[in-house]
């Protein structure tokens, strides 16, 4: 899919605020994969992630008029998405621990891999991630994959910086064990 320029995104946001659903659909097309991937990693639950994605874009439609055009639209969308994901996973925490298998078919259909090694590598990484307990997994994703600081994670996840560091350390320990290989 063609990536939109910042000006194009801004124009689509303006049109969407005026009620243009076609423009909003283009914004959805542009960002749905990133948001869905974030939801999938945080919840490990396909159905819950779809539900979250739907909820996020419905909220975006309702709150779009509050977007100030001062920051990038994606940053705004991303923050809103994280809020929804954290709230939903909190209320659904009992449902988010059982899915320990990587959906290989979904992973393969979602991108082009250059070789079977890269496929196996991606599967191994996803599988190891699924082995993590819920909180360490969330913190690892936020810190390592999404680039947030512990201070920011404190705000997002509502835990102390110390707890965030402890979860990260635990996550790395589990991943180290899961990813070790014979030489």
């Amino acid at each position: 899919m063609e990536t939109l320029t910042n000006d194009e995104v801004i124009e689509l946001v303006r049109l969407s605020v005026q009620g243009d659903r076609n423009a909003f659909k283009k914004l959805y097309d542009q960002y749905n994969r990133q948001i869905y991937t974030l939801a999938m990693r945080m919840t490990t639950d396909h159905l819950l992630s779809q539900d979250i994605l739907q909820d996020i874009f419905l909220r975006v439609w309702q709150k779009l008029h509050t977007f100030k055009f001062e920051s990038s639209f994606f940053s705004w969308l991303y923050r809103l998405s994280l809020n929804v994901i954290m709230r939903k996973t909190k209320s659904n925490s009992k449902h988010t621990t059982g899915n320990n298998e990587v959906d290989v078919e979904e992973l393969l259909s979602s991108q082009k891999f250059e070789s079977s090694d890269s496929i196996n590598g991606a599967i191994d990484l996803e599988r190891a991630l699924l082995k993590l307990p819920e909180q360490p997994r969330k913190i690892f994703i936020l810190y390592v994959m999404e680039g947030f600081s512990h201070k920011e994670i404190k705000e997002i996840a509502g835990i102390s910086e110390g707890a965030s560091k402890a979860h990260l350390s635990r996550a790395r320990a589990v991943l180290r064990k899961e990813l070790q290989y014979e030489t």
Partner: protein, 199 residues
């Protein structure tokens, strides 16, 4: 011998891993449906609906069936209006307790029953009155517009039972439907008076 990754190596592996997941194709359709429901709830203009309804109703019924029709519609619609009003106000004022919620749901359900009876009476008497088929169909069409809107909201509500806004909307719809039937009754009364007055 086993190789153990360092923290930095683990971080790098995951930073490089750009695997993405793709949501199902029907997600956008669900989002669009929900947007439509929200917009309809925001843009529903009672007076416009009534105006269209009256225009179609005025030519629908022959004079001799007007009195019976008015009595039936008035009875059911008035009862439904009261119940729906109570239920609607409860939803609107916020559901602070399980008891309030159940009570409001009960009122809405009662209003739904009475609305159905009022509608059935209206349609039956209109047919018995040997009215103009085209005009009667027009009345049915007007009622079914709101019916289908309610059915759509109910379908969405079944998927999102935690969404109390939808319940408020359903309550609003029944309130406005019964209100519509009350106005129909007023309109029929005017017709009757005009007939009696020889206008």
């Amino acid at each position: 011998m086993k190789h153990n990754y360092t923290d930095d190596e683990i971080d790098l592996l995951y930073k490089k891993n750009q695997s993405q997941f793709i949501p199902g194709n029907d997600i956008w359709r669900n989002i669009e449906d929900s947007i439509k429901v929200k917009e309809r709830s925001k843009n529903f203009i009672f007076i416009d609906t009534c105006t269209g309804f009256y225009k179609n109703c005025l030519s629908a019924f022959p004079g001799e069936s007007v009195l019976l029709l008015r009595v039936a519609v008035l009875f059911f619609a008035l009862s439904g209006f009261i119940f729906a009003g109570i239920g609607y106000m409860s939803f609107k004022s916020g559901l602070n307790s399980e008891h309030q919620y159940k009570s409001a749901m009960k009122d809405i359900k009662e209003a739904e029953k009475l609305y159905k009876k009022a509608k059935a009476s209206l349609l039956l008497l209109a047919k018995e009155g040997k009215g103009d088929t085209v005009a009667i169909n027009s009345v049915i069409e007007n009622i079914s517009v709101i019916d289908s809107a309610i059915a759509e909201v109910k379908a969405v509500y079944e998927k999102q039972p935690e969404n109390k806004e939808l319940l408020v909307f359903i309550g609003t719809m029944y309130y406005e439907q019964t209100n519509l039937l009350l106005k129909t009754n007023a309109m029929l009364e005017n017709m009757e008076n005009r007939t009696r007055g020889g206008i």
